[in-house]
Structures are given as structure tokens and as C-alpha cells.
């Protein structure tokens, strides 16, 4: 397994280098630094203010080759945007935000807590509810409950997530007045009050696809020979479903779960933005809206890293969960 992990990590490294190249093309070669400067210092500033801002933020350097230095001078290549981009990203020196000069590393640190306080309960509750509901539906398969839940699942899958958010805020926050419409607090009691609605909305919005998937897995599993054998031996339905079917069905479910875990750190874009949660999701949305390219580059890069980590973790979890799987 060690050899496999090393190989996958090396592949991952090449993928990261490729992602960085793509990021460079998108954020440096295609985007005009004047655009970034204008967004940062305002449209009414004079041209010399833009020039100074670009100088202070290193956007005044050439892309690939700095002809200000002699051919033999290594700075001809190192004092360029490309070299600096790779150096910063690979050493996790993300620098400062283009929008307000705040340290990106600090923003990441500050945003991770609020993001996790939303995504972890959302993930855990979503998983528990969807697995339980899928088990329930699989248990009552081919009954009106099964069909009703499937129709409901299809309905929930067909509705845009923005509608859940606005609808949830209006129905539960505005009309029924159960929870605050939006907001966040670091105080645990208040935080629970604020997070209840986004978690509820997130669970409902994401439940359809998961229940459909897990139900299929459970139904498929409950038709297998070992299930029939268990029933023939007189094993009760609850034991069949919970001890046998659920356990064996967990392996395909695992792949769906493990790949999600790393992304808990990057937060939920829309939920955070609409519910006023100061996490990494709203940081990303804000970076997109405010042309904060340095933050956006960092978030895309971290997303790529987490995706690669998620894939490796999924493979490892397969091997750990299923003794038949060998990682070579």
C-alpha cells in the first residue's frame, strides 16, 4: 500500500503543477492587472495610483521573462509572475488579498471555524438522515411509501438550491419564526440558533440524490444470496437490514462520503453567503464578486489539493473497509 500511496502522491503532485499552470493562464495571462487594480483602489483613482498599486502587489512584473536582467542573471526568470506564482503556492505563502490587503492565511484560519461549524453538522446530519431514510424506504420497497419517497426525492433534486435557501428563510425564518433568518455567532448557544436553519435547508436540499443512491445500494444488497440465507435462518428484518445489509452496503457509500470530507473545509458557497456565515464559502463568493484574484487563486488551488487528497483517501478507505481490495 505504501508504494501505491507514494505513486498516487507523485501523480497528485503533477496534477497540482498542472492546476497551477492553468491558474496562471487564467489569472495572469488572461486577466488584465489594470482590472484588478481598478477594483482594488476604486474607479475614481488616477492612473498613477493604479500604477503604484500594481507595483506594490507585484503585478507590474513580466509574465515569463524579465528582460530587465542580463541573460546570465537567474532573476531574469525568478523575478517574474510565473515563478512567483509557483513559489508562493507550493510554499503555501498565499500573500495578501488583492481587495483589501489582508493576509490570506489569516482569512483562511478565521473562516475555517465558521465553515466547519456549518458543514460538519450538515454532513453528519445529512448522512444519518439519508442513510436512515434510504434504509426505511428499502425496507418498505415496492410499497406506496417507497414510491412516495422516490417522487419526493425527484422533486427535491429538481429544485434549485437557491430556492431552498430563499424558501427556507421565508417559510421557517419569516413566516413560522422558528429560527433567525440569517447570522452567525461564535457563542455556542447563539451559534446553534443561527446554524439550525442553514443545516435544515442544506439537509433537505441534498437529501434527494443521496436517498436515491443509497436506496439503490440497499435494495441491490438486500437481494443478495447472503440476505436470503440470513432470512432463511430466521433472522429478523431489523437485524437483516441493520446488521447485514447496512454493513455490506457501506463500502460503495464510503466512496461517496470520503471524497466529500476534505471539502468540508472549503465551506458551502451559497449557504454561507445567504445565511451570513463568515466562512470560507462566503470568502470564495466574495473573492469572485470582488475580483480578488489572489484569494480566488488560493481557494481554487486549495480545492484542487483537497480533491486530490479526497481521491487518495477514498482509495485507502476502500482497502481498509473491504479486505478484497488490494492497493498495488
Amino acid at each position: 500500500m505504501a508504494a501505491y500511496l507514494i505513486r498516487r502522491t507523485i501523480y497528485g503532485l503533477f496534477t497540482v503543477l498542472g492546476v497551477l499552470l492553468l491558474l496562471f493562464v487564467l489569472f495572469f495571462a488572461v486577466t488584465d492587472p489594470d482590472d484588478i487594480a481598478r477594483k482594488a483602489v476604486g474607479e475614481r483613482a488616477r492612473p498613477e495610483v493604479y500604477a503604484l498599486w500594481k507595483k506594490n502587489h507585484g503585478y507590474d512584473r513580466p509574465l515569463l521573462l524579465n528582460r530587465a536582467y542580463a541573460a546570465a542573471d537567474s532573476r531574469r526568470y525568478s523575478d517574474t509572475l510565473l515563478f512567483d506564482h509557483y513559489r508562493r503556492m507550493l510554499t503555501f505563502d498565499f500573500g495578501n488579498s488583492d481587495a483589501d490587503d489582508s493576509a490570506i492565511a489569516r482569512r483562511l484560519k478565521e473562516g475555517m471555524g465558521p465553515s466547519l461549524s456549518l458543514t460538519v453538522p450538515l454532513f453528519a446530519l445529512g448522512l444519518v438522515v439519508s442513510v436512515l431514510l434510504a434504509l426505511f424506504v428499502a425496507f418498505f420497497r415496492e410499497t406506496y411509501i417507497d414510491r412516495a419517497v422516490l417522487v419526493l426525492c425527484m422533486l427535491t433534486m429538481s429544485i434549485a438550491s437557491l430556492l431552498y435557501i430563499i424558501g427556507g428563510q421565508y417559510l421557517i425564518g419569516m413566516l413560522l419564526k422558528w429560527f433567525p433568518i440569517s447570522g452567525f455567532a461564535f457563542d455556542p448557544y447563539l451559534a446553534g440558533r443561527f446554524l439550525a436553519l442553514p443545516v435544515l435547508v442544506g439537509v433537505v436540499a441534498g437529501i434527494g440524490a443521496d436517498v436515491r443512491l443509497y436506496r439503490t445500494i440497499f435494495v441491490e444488497e438486500s437481494n443478495r444470496d447472503y440476505v436470503r440465507t440470513a432470512r432463511a435462518k430466521g433472522c429478523g428484518e431489523a437485524r437483516v437490514m441493520l446488521a447485514h445489509v447496512l454493513r455490506n452496503a457501506l463500502i460503495p457509500i464510503l466512496s461517496n462520503i470520503v471524497i466529500t470530507i476534505p471539502f468540508l473545509f472549503t465551506g458551502a458557497l451559497l449557504l454561507e453567503s445567504f445565511f451570513g456565515i463568515p466562512g470560507l464559502g462566503s470568502l470564495t463568493v466574495e473573492a469572485i464578486q470582488g475580483n480578488d484574484f489572489s484569494t480566488l487563486r488560493t481557494m481554487v488551488y486549495l480545492g484542487a489539493l483537497l480533491f486530490i487528497a479526497g481521491q487518495i483517501l477514498t482509495d485507502v478507505s476502500y482497502a481498509l473497509a473491504d479486505p478484497r481490495v488490494r492497493l498495488t
Binding site: D32, D34, D35, R38, A40, V41, G42, E43, R44, A45, R46, P47, V49, L52, W53, N56, A99, D100, D101, R107, E110, P114, F139, F140, T143, Y144, I145, A148, I166, Q169, Y170, G173, M174, L175, L176, K177, W178, F179, P180, I181, S182, G183, F184, D187, L190, R193, F194, A196, G236, E237, A238, S273, F274, F275, G276, P278, S282, L283, V285, E286
Partner: protein
């Protein structure tokens, strides 16, 4: 199994019901209910709180409260009027023999900076210190400092020695890295300071201008010229775990920044050492509620007459919560959890009916405060263009006049802005000296027949270009490519189509548009301007030849160059608001009326909502926070919030009942079938 499932469902139902029974939608701690706290929101996080740089409304809600200025605008008087704040009086211009003028500011005694650890650099005990004239001079030097990057540096060009100081500073930094590493105040001292900023003594500051510029006084009512302690800039340098000065303001204002988590919330706490709050300090205009209150303001409940003459401020805390999205912000305002709010497009018709609050909103005690911003939105012609510009002579003028006669700005406002705006007849908005409410621009009244006649006289009968026999083709350039913007441009194009003109919309990115502007490759464009200060000069300079985009890269994008206009402008700009100035403005407006470099559209109108418990909510109009005049009635707020936010629980019980009702027969049916 059957029993277990039923039991589980019931237990879950009861648990959820119990959990919800203790729920509330109140987003604030219960302990704050009786306190004088104003709850508000912000959408964009401030980029910086450095008063030399901050230039947005998001920043001003903090800098405008934390930093005091030498002068301020009178809270209630319109047209706007300057009054003394940290200065003892509004200074008069003293003419100099060389054509320059000077202003002498006498600073009030006993003004203290907010207590802050940065003062350990000078005071040892790290508390606070008195403000001196040198603190104002320091901030003015920061405005000139090229590394501070102040967007307003250009506006101080008339201060003697301002630009040479900036050049000297830059040169010394480049020549000597040791000098560049010194704290800013030491660098400024060694560079000799700005010649025209003279610290006469601790309480006297003289500003010398190389030429008369009465508008300069307005800049002393902006946080750009606030006193800044050198200690704060030196201490908050982002090193050794300290914040940057841009995130840690140290001012003298009525409030100090207690919490600054800009992605999430900001809190301003009352400054107990503010000059207006100190016992024994004489009542100052900037620290006292005005006594001259317009009866109309009292009737409209924008101002409470009982506050006349009372010491400011009234609020203990101002709490800003970040709301990135309009809909939740507005809904929380309706629930009473924000004290003030703005109307969202989606709910406009429910909130405003017949240009007033809807009966439902009025029944809740809400108030609608309207303010016309000192702004102008217009369609501009590129006067350098051979077809629509000056070179086309009388033909071009008549073409512009004809095009102006068919633009229905009222319909535009109704269609795209819910009618929020005042139709513009001239570049000057209401509240600015020279604005005449009775004046009707003859070329801003809808008149298709006259427009067609003028077009024919211009040689474009029915919009046809006599040379080609085809409709006259014009280009309408825009830096906005959104669908909504294109729809808005289409509105204008449709109006000109009535004349037979073929106007093509050329949408491009902002940079491409700017490149076109630099090259002069444009004919028509739309633009808007919000004034920095309430003076006609701040509008007319947009039409002065020296500011023409093609000549100096200035803000006169229409490239309007008219000798007569410029002569009037230069005389007008250095005059006080008197009859002579009024006459000059009238002549300038008569010129723009005939020449039509712009088609004036509207002056933007802000609609702000506030609840019954908010007192003195009269808006200022300028980007100028008025929180120190505001107050709240926390008792009324708490009572109404409780009335408006009683949780509705029956749908929950109904849903749980439905789940149980569906599950039990399913379980029974299943087992019956199995058996």
C-alpha cells in the same frame, strides 16, 4: 420491529417538538434588549479604515464615526452648510499678495484620542493624549505620501508645497534605504513637511493655498483630513502580531471601534472621552443637537423636537452585522431586528404605494425617508466626434438637441428604478447652490415633433443621412455587458429609433471601454457622478476643458471645450455663494442647455426605511453618517419585536402528525402482507 418503528417515530416527533418549543428567531443576546443599541447591517466589508484612503460608504460608516473633522455639515440645514467641529470656527480665507490664500484653523482645547496601546510609544502609560495641530499636519502629509496611495491626493494640489513634498519624499526614499525604513512621521519631518501646512502652535494650524479655492474647506469636513496620531501609524504596522493601521483606527470621534470582524460584524461603542461628552466642556456645535429645527422635519417625524440643544451622542453602541444578500437583510428589517433598512426591488410595490409607505407598513409605525443624492446621471456626447461633436457645428448641435428631446427619463425611472429619482433639467441636483426647482430645460421636455424638425434642419430628415441615403448610424458605447444593462441601453436606442436614427449598442468590458475613451473612439455613453462635496464646482468641473479626457485624461468624458463656459467656470469656482455666483451659474446652465454635451437624465433618490423606535432618522444625503444624532427607544423595540415574532408552531405538530399517520398504516400493511 413494528412497535419499535412506531415508538421511534413518536420519540423523534416529541424531541423535535420540544426542541422547537424553545426556539426564537431573535438573532441578538437577550441581555442587550434594554440597551440603547442601534442595529444596522452592511453588505460590503470595508477595504480599509485608513482615513487617508477610505473612500467608500462601507468604510465611512466606521471612519465617519471614529474620526472627527475640523468642520462638519449642519445636520438639518439645506443647502448644506459647514459648521465648526474640532475647529472653534469656520475660518475665512485670508488673501495673500501673490494670489494665494490661507486659512487658519483654531483647534478646540481638550480633545483626546481614543485610549489605545499605541500611545505607549510616546506616553509610556499607553493610554491616550491630547490632539495637537501637528496631528492634522501629519495626516495631510500622509495624503501627499505616494505610498499611502490616497485617492484624494490630487484634490490638495493647491496646498503650497504639496506635490514638491511628495516628490522629495519619494526621491529621499529611493536614494536612502535607511531613510525609507524610518517611521512615517520621522520621514515627513526629515523631508521638511508640506510648506503650505504650518503648525503655528499646538492649537493653530494654517493652510496656505497657491490660489483661491473656497471648495477646499469641504475637504476639512471629510475624514481624509482628520487628526491621526503618528503613534497609531508607527505601532499598527502589521508586525509582531499587531494589526495594520488600516484595520485599527485610532481617532477622536464620538464612537470607537470595539469589534472589527469585517467579514461578519462591526461594533462601535460610545467614546466616553469624546470632547462633546466631557464634563465641563463648553457646548460645541458639533457636539450639540441643533436648535433650529424645521417644522416639516418634526411633522414627518424625521426629527424629534425634544432633542434640540441636547448633548450628543445618544446611542451606547452601534451594531453592524454583515448581510451579503438583500432578501434576508430586508426580511430581518421587517421582523424588527434591524432598525433601518433599504427597500429591495422585489418588495418595492408592497412597501411603497403612491410614492408613500403602503398602509400595512405605515400601520407598523415604519417611516420612509427620501433623500436626493447630490448626483447626476446623464448621456454624454463625445464632442470631439465629427458627427455628434463640436466639429459638426450647427448640424451637430441640432442633432444633439433633437436626441435630447425624445429621451423620456421619467419612463426610464419608472421602468428600471421604481421611480426613485428626480428628473434632471441641468447638471445641478437639488440641495446644491444654483439649483432652480422652477427651471424647465426646453430640451429636456418630450417633444417628438420638435425633435424631428431639428433633425431635419440638421440635415437628417427622418433620421436619414443625406450623403448615404441610409439612417444615420451612431454608436452607443457601454462598459456594462449585463443583460439588465443592455435592456436599459435598449430603452434609449428605442427612443432614438422614433427619429429614424440607427444607434448601435457597443458593449465592452470596462478596460476596453476605457481604451476607447482614451482613443476618442466613441460617440455616445452614459455616466453618473456623485459629488464629493456640495458645491456646484464639483459638477461643472466635469465640463471644463482642462479636464477633458482627450486633453488631460480628466473626468470630462464628453470632451466639452467651450471658451465662454470655461471663463464663467473659472470665475464662479472661486466665488462665495452670492448673487454674482448665482448669475454666473445661470449663464453656464444656459450654455449647456443649448450646446447639449449631455442629456441630463436624473438625480438619484435614496429611499430609506426606519422603525417607529428610531429617533432622528433624517438622512444627510452625502456619504456622511449621522449616528451621533440618532437615538432609539429600546422598550418600544422590544415590545414590538415580541409582538411581531411569535413562533407559529402548529405546522410542526401537523407535519409530525402526518408522518406518524403515514408510517403506522405502512408498517401495518407491510407486516400483514409479510404474514
Amino acid at each position: 420491529m413494528k412497535l419499535a418503528l412506531v415508538r421511534l417515530t413518536s420519540i423523534k416527533a416529541i424531541a423535535v417538538a420540544l426542541a422547537l418549543a424553545g426556539c426564537s428567531n431573535n438573532p441578538y443576546p437577550a441581555g442587550d434588549r434594554a440597551r440603547k443599541i442601534l442595529y444596522s447591517s452592511f453588505s460590503e466589508a470595508p477595504k480599509t479604515l485608513d482615513p487617508a484612503v477610505a473612500y467608500t460608504t462601507a468604510s465611512h460608516i466606521v471612519t465617519g464615526n471614529v474620526y472627527d473633522t475640523l468642520l462638519e455639515y449642519h445636520f438639518l440645514k439645506r443647502p448644506y452648510e459647514l459648521m465648526p467641529a474640532l475647529a472653534e470656527s469656520v475660518p475665512s480665507a485670508v488673501p495673500h499678495p501673490d494670489g494665494g490664500v490661507s486659512y487658519l484653523f483654531k483647534i478646540r482645547d481638550g480633545i483626546l484620542f481614543h485610549a489605545d496601546p499605541c500611545f505607549q510609544l510616546s506616553q509610556g502609560d499607553g493610554r491616550s493624549r491630547k490632539v495637537t495641530a501637528a496631528d492634522f499636519a501629519f495626516e495631510l502629509a500622509r495624503l501627499a505620501d505616494p505610498t499611502v496611495n490616497s485617492p484624494l491626493a490630487g484634490s490638495f494640489a493647491q496646498v503650497q508645497g504639496f506635490a514638491p513634498f511628495a516628490e522629495r519624499l519619494a526621491a529621499m526614499r529611493q536614494a536612502d534605504p535607511t531613510f525609507a525604513a524610518l517611521p512615517a512621521h520621522e520621514q515627513y519631518q526629515r523631508a521638511g513637511g508640506i510648506a503650505g501646512v504650518i503648525v503655528r502652535n499646538e492649537r493653530e494650524l494654517e493652510i496656505v493655498l497657491s490660489e483661491a479655492k473656497p471648495q477646499m474647506l469641504y475637504f476639512f469636513a471629510m475624514p481624509f483630513t482628520t487628526p491621526v496620531p503618528w503613534e497609531a501609524v508607527a505601532y499598527y504596522n502589521g508586525q509582531r502580531g499587531r494589526e495594520h493601521f488600516a484595520d485599527h483606527p485610532v481617532g477622536t470621534g464620538p464612537y470607537r471601534l470595539a469589534v472589527y470582524e469585517k467579514q461578519y460584524r462591526m461594533q462601535l461603542e460610545r467614546n466616553e472621552t469624546w470632547y462633546g461628552s466631557q464634563a465641563g466642556m463648553p457646548a460645541a456645535p458639533g457636539a450639540t443637537f441643533p436648535r433650529e429645527i424645521d417644522q416639516q422635519d418634526i411633522v414627518s417625524k424625521q426629527v424629534d423636537g425634544d432633542y434640540a440643544g441636547r448633548r450628543l451622542p445618544f446611542l451606547d453602541r452601534i451594531n453592524f452585522v454583515r448581510e451579503r444578500e438583500d432578501i434576508p437583510r430586508f426580511n430581518k428589517f421587517l421582523q424588527g431586528y434591524y432598525d433601518e433598512g433599504h427597500i429591495i426591488k422585489e418588495s418595492f410595490d408592497a412597501v411603497v404605494q403612491n410614492d408613500a409607505l403602503s398602509p400595512q407598513m405605515a400601520a407598523r409605525g415604519m417611516r420612509l425617508d427620501k433623500t436626493v443624492e447630490p448626483s447626476i446621471f446623464y448621456i454624454g456626447f463625445n464632442m470631439d466626434d465629427p458627427v455628434v461633436g463640436t466639429a459638426a457645428g450647427e448640424r451637430g448641435r441640432k442633432l444633439r438637441q433633437a436626441m435630447s428631446l425624445v429621451i423620456d427619463a421619467k419612463a426610464y425611472l419608472e421602468l428600471f428604478l421604481n421611480g426613485r429619482g428626480v428628473l434632471a433639467q441641468t447638471p445641478l441636483p437639488p440641495g446644491i447652490f444654483g439649483y432652480d426647482q422652477t427651471y424647465k430645460n426646453p430640451f429636456r421636455q418630450l417633444d417628438l415633433a420638435r425633435a424631428q424638425k431639428l433633425l431635419a434642419e440638421a440635415g437628417y430628415r427622418n433620421g436619414l443621412d443625406a450623403r448615404t441615403g441610409a439612417p444615420l448610424k451612431l454608436s452607443f458605447d457601454t462598459p456594462n455587458t449585463t443583460a439588465q444593462a443592455l435592456l436599459q441601453y435598449q430603452f434609449y436606442v428605442s427612443a432614438w429609433r422614433q427619429l429614424g436614427l440607427d444607434v448601435e449598442i457597443n458593449a465592452s468590458t470596462y478596460n476596453q471601454f476605457q481604451a476607447k475613451v482614451r482613443r476618442g473612439a466613441y460617440q455616445l455613453f452614459t455616466w453618473g457622478w456623485i459629488a464629493d462635496f456640495p458645491d456646484p464646482e464639483n459638477f461643472f468641473f466635469l465640463l471644463e476643458c482642462g479636464n477633458a479626457q482627450s486633453k488631460s485624461g480628466g473626468p470630462n468624458t464628453a470632451n466639452f471645450c467651450n471658451g465662454a463656459f470655461d471663463r464663467l467656470y473659472h470665475e464662479m469656482k472661486s466665488l462665495p455663494n452670492d448673487v454674482r455666483r448665482q448669475g454666473l451659474i445661470k449663464s453656464m446652465l444656459a450654455l449647456t442647455e443649448q450646446e447639449r454635451p449631455w442629456i441630463e437624465l436624473f438625480h438619484n433618490e435614496e429611499y430609506a426605511l426606519s422603525h417607529a423606535w428610531v429617533i432622528n432618522s433624517k438622512p444627510m444625503g452625502l456619504s456622511y453618517p449621522t449616528y451621533k444624532y440618532m437615538d432609539v427607544d429600546p422598550e418600544l423595540r422590544s415590545r414590538l419585536q415580541s409582538e411581531w415574532n411569535v413562533p407559529v408552531r402548529w405546522p410542526l405538530y401537523l407535519a409530525l402528525l402526518a408522518i406518524v399517520a403515514v408510517t403506522i398504516p405502512a408498517v401495518r400493511t407491510f407486516y400483514r402482507e409479510r404474514q
